[in-house]
Subunit: 386 residues, 4 copies
Amino acid sequence: MDTRRKAHFTMSAGPVEATERTLRALSQPVYYHYDPQFAEVFDDTLAKLKAVFQTQQDVIIMQGEALLGLEAAAACCFQEGDTVLNLVSGVYGAGYQYYIDLYGARSVEVRVPYNAAVDPEDVERALRAHPEVRFLTVVHSETPSGTLNPVREICTIAKRHGVLTIVDAVSSMGTLDIRPDEWGFDICVVGPQKAFAAPPGLALISVSDAAWQVMRGRRKPVRYSYLSMLDWKEQWLEQRHFPYTVFTSDVVALREALAQVLEEGLPQVFARHERSARACRAGVKALGLGLWPASEAIASPCCTALLPPQGVDEKALRARMYEEYGVLISGGVGDTAGKLVRIGHMGKMADPMYVAVALAALERSLFDLGHTVRFGSGVGAALAAL
Amino acid sequence: MDTRRKAHFTMSAGPVEATERTLRALSQPVYYHYDPQFAEVFDDTLAKLKAVFQTQQDVIIMQGEALLGLEAAAACCFQEGDTVLNLVSGVYGAGYQYYIDLYGARSVEVRVPYNAAVDPEDVERALRAHPEVRFLTVVHSETPSGTLNPVREICTIAKRHGVLTIVDAVSSMGTLDIRPDEWGFDICVVGPQKAFAAPPGLALISVSDAAWQVMRGRRKPVRYSYLSMLDWKEQWLEQRHFPYTVFTSDVVALREALAQVLEEGLPQVFARHERSARACRAGVKALGLGLWPASEAIASPCCTALLPPQGVDEKALRARMYEEYGVLISGGVGDTAGKLVRIGHMGKMADPMYVAVALAALERSLFDLGHTVRFGSGVGAALAAL
Amino acid sequence: MDTRRKAHFTMSAGPVEATERTLRALSQPVYYHYDPQFAEVFDDTLAKLKAVFQTQQDVIIMQGEALLGLEAAAACCFQEGDTVLNLVSGVYGAGYQYYIDLYGARSVEVRVPYNAAVDPEDVERALRAHPEVRFLTVVHSETPSGTLNPVREICTIAKRHGVLTIVDAVSSMGTLDIRPDEWGFDICVVGPQKAFAAPPGLALISVSDAAWQVMRGRRKPVRYSYLSMLDWKEQWLEQRHFPYTVFTSDVVALREALAQVLEEGLPQVFARHERSARACRAGVKALGLGLWPASEAIASPCCTALLPPQGVDEKALRARMYEEYGVLISGGVGDTAGKLVRIGHMGKMADPMYVAVALAALERSLFDLGHTVRFGSGVGAALAAL
Amino acid sequence: MDTRRKAHFTMSAGPVEATERTLRALSQPVYYHYDPQFAEVFDDTLAKLKAVFQTQQDVIIMQGEALLGLEAAAACCFQEGDTVLNLVSGVYGAGYQYYIDLYGARSVEVRVPYNAAVDPEDVERALRAHPEVRFLTVVHSETPSGTLNPVREICTIAKRHGVLTIVDAVSSMGTLDIRPDEWGFDICVVGPQKAFAAPPGLALISVSDAAWQVMRGRRKPVRYSYLSMLDWKEQWLEQRHFPYTVFTSDVVALREALAQVLEEGLPQVFARHERSARACRAGVKALGLGLWPASEAIASPCCTALLPPQGVDEKALRARMYEEYGVLISGGVGDTAGKLVRIGHMGKMADPMYVAVALAALERSLFDLGHTVRFGSGVGAALAAL
């Protein structure tokens, strides 16, 4: 598809642009998964993942989209009779209910509007009211809303109640400082195509010993299935045998992407994401546009969700930015579709200069669509906020 | 992992070496799956898949290993009370029993030794004896054995009995002329990392209308799950909405790999595979080594399974070929592990010159390990067989 | 050198950033120059060069930097007793005097300040005053000054006087509409690393029949030398034999870069360069900074030369932009070194969004270095100028 | 040019196939030559070159084909009145006479048939007979003949006579142990596209202090010219200023290629070349074909020149190997054209398995063209010779 690329700047909510270094790694000869050299690559990737996750727990790589990991958590943990406290502050939180039902558990819910964050006190209350709850599921960064939930406080409460936590950190891991072990994450699912800027195709998951025990202690543990986490624990980690063909090229690319994160340094990476998100919000506000999150305090560093001005269609806005200026941003998802647009600033794109590009294209496109804009006000505010 | 690569020639049973053209496609910037240009890429990939599959049926791409497709077929089709005729001529056929059990069906089995092929008459007999059978599952190329089952005859019989067929053509599609529509395949699962020489990571599946009807007619159709085929039919094919993030880079690479197959021409590609496999078997025999398949008539064009000579350990043989000559071949799998080695000749490696490399390394390695070899006899026989 | 790259945006005066498509072409397996397929590649590259040059003349590719082509023109054309009219409006024009001396000719000069353009009337006057002039040498885009000379008028005058013209269009070709044949260019030398955004390493040269006649008519034609243009005419164009090893990878990349230019369309490419240059100048002026060219009418579309404000060291400015914001721009060259900085906007970087990046980094870096800046004023003016 | 590649195995006399690691380096973003990071890359490349050359002398990289370096040596060193002893054992040695004439020197010649090597005693005799000789020029590996000259002995004699030596080690450096400093090389010119398996486009040159003195001591030293070596000494090495735009991408690729040589280890690299060349010659002889070199003792490790059997046209033979088996080898050059074919085994291709491929294709192609061949005899002999 070597036609002229329209998106020179992919500032989406993910997959985001990979660095050219990662792309070159991706283009290495495809490994046979039982090439002895690949075992070293795989082990090293797991080691790097642990370092980036800042965890001592087991880390596994399921060979599918991050969603596979989220569904697998439900499939491997829940069974008839279990009760799950599901926290809903957005599309993905709401969607998890489907897995709870599919895998036979009952659910209790704490729900807030899709532009808000869950209040840890509500979690405390819910757990007190429902001592039968065995699992808590929470989305850290609700990407469709550009909001963050206070997973540290939430999971700390859950652990105090002896509840196993399943955390969707798909888009948050790598954008800010997360401590799965200290904060009480039992299963934490992450996507490579977000802050790591690796190609999509893998589900990166840390699993606590407590979670393994739950999976093994089921009446009928899930094994020999694409949804099985245990296969990766028992076949690969314990017996050095892959359950099935590994996505060797994706693993090689992920490893290179993680190497770059570690070479830059986690604090530097987090600061870069914070700075870019801050600049982006400053620019949006200076343009007189509303942020979707109820407050900046809960705005996610992974993407900025904003409201197009009255009279400007969000589809037309994105189309203009894309067709005319080569800047690709995201719309909403599910319930947020049509209501907001999102500028992603993860991985390589978490860079004030890329934010400047997105804002410049936004400014000019708003103008092109008939909206009054003081040119430079958005980019200028972003520069001032650095 | 830019250390000196040891495997200069990966003649494995898959993943096999991709062409440099495919690798370059893989290194294109990672697409956001909702980049409008990616929709064109995806559609074109499906169109090319149909052309290579030689089918008019729907084709879907599940975002996981080929095994995901095989499990999904079971998960989406089978339900309590169904009876499945499972044909077993090797490790993969035998393994399917696990899915039959997992998804609640009962099974009837036709079983032959792992170096033999299923006899269509046995299938006819089994279907007559078991009119309750609703599904038949068969592996076309039993890669761990290097053997082929007569799927044309088998599926023709099945269709006469009104039985839905699920065909594992993971490693056979692209190596020889297959006609899913005429031969009566209802679900046909293929891997990109075999004859197409694309990176692993996708399950390529053709699905007949009858199969869709079965999936939709279940008491509880499988939807909104990583195992759902229907999601791809209903969300993508019908509503142009991806069920979840697509492995955009893998799709781009697959598309380029398929383009190369089509540019070369299917008849040419099949002939190349046949010629390479023939040359390989001629070389092996000339070296006085045994073929694992009971007869050459059932030998698979995807890989040649052969028996190391008495006194030569198969692991040591493979290690020698790899460490000293840079040639990576496969061992057995499951029940065939330790008994045989396999030279893959799929995709780019389906080339008499690569076969010559494998045989040259085999000759010299056998000698190095103390076995008497007339140097050149294997390669010479391969050349003579062209 | 896979350390963290500092220059995420190379907005230099060249080499500029290649597109990823061109980079992928560059990474194709290295051709043996006598691979029969390479002859096709080479011929097609020449054909594409003719199309992009908009010429019917011969085009050759010398295997060295553009400067090799400029020196070769002198070496192959000039001989003892010749008089050359050398037009000097900048560093490169002035430098050509060296070749005139080295290759034994005498010179007449028209000289203007380095921020001005040569006046065609002065050329007319000089040619009238010096009927012995056989050659005229002129630089179209004086990259170190960011200025353009009116080569159309100049060469038209020269041809009227029967003078052979040698045009340095190294950085101008591809940025604006040039007609070598109609305008009277006899030898026109172009660099691939400028508007075509190909890797450096080749000298792209169109040669008129009159020029070939001059080279062949010398007392001692230059043949069998790295400086010989005739070798390419006589050995390659006439006898299909390469004078020496061709830079096969560079040619493959150039071909792909030219393909992209032609696919986009020459008028579109020129308009994109004009628009980007215009936006850049608007931004610079809005920031209160001076342009180096005496008037915008002679500003080159290839790069914008600007004056840092009083009290801001140009080296410190460039260093800040590079180290802190990842934006690499150029300083001056020779006599312009230390006096100005240059923002390149050629090839892929001739894009208003890249210009916005350069201006954003410029704004913020000026501020960081203590200069008062109204943030957004530069970028805003650029957006308004689109 | 993404048509189906015909040459899957380029076993030419150079450019040879680059490793995929080198190709990936080549596809890194094109550096602006004054990107501060590029200075590090360039310095490191020079350091690696010194290590691979095993020299303490200055090393420079001229931005052109190796031939540029050879011509530059003549242009920079020779002047009217100088006498050069030119050793001729093949096409390249004979061709050097042209530069001697072009740059105004007189010559004395020692000449042997093109399948022989120069006898050091003849050199001794010539130098005694011609005390006016100031320079000696010799080709180490006469690639068109596949022969080696005893440069160690020759240059040692020359130094005893106070003669400056210019050594064409274009294709030999990296294939066997060479010691420029101990052996008395004053100027040694090497090509990146041979044993280093880097892309063509650069001339790699070591220069002794004595040679610099000669260049500087001329009546009119060559400066500010594409043929100037002094520019690289005085502008880059001494003042850190590039004489002109550097082929940044080629340098990056060369650096990566050299890194691979050094990681493997020079002794290992030399042994691999020796072993591959030995195997190739054994295979050729076993097929009953003649070697072009008068004795194996003077056969070059860079390529094997062989005589097609009576009745087999060398062009038809190469065409058959290329078209039918994807193996590209070289014909002769100049006086050896039409008389011999050459199998290159340099760099990545210096691998017994690639030699086996070339021999297998040779065997089968000879057969296809009507020549009687015992299949496997060539490859077998090569395997036996390992």
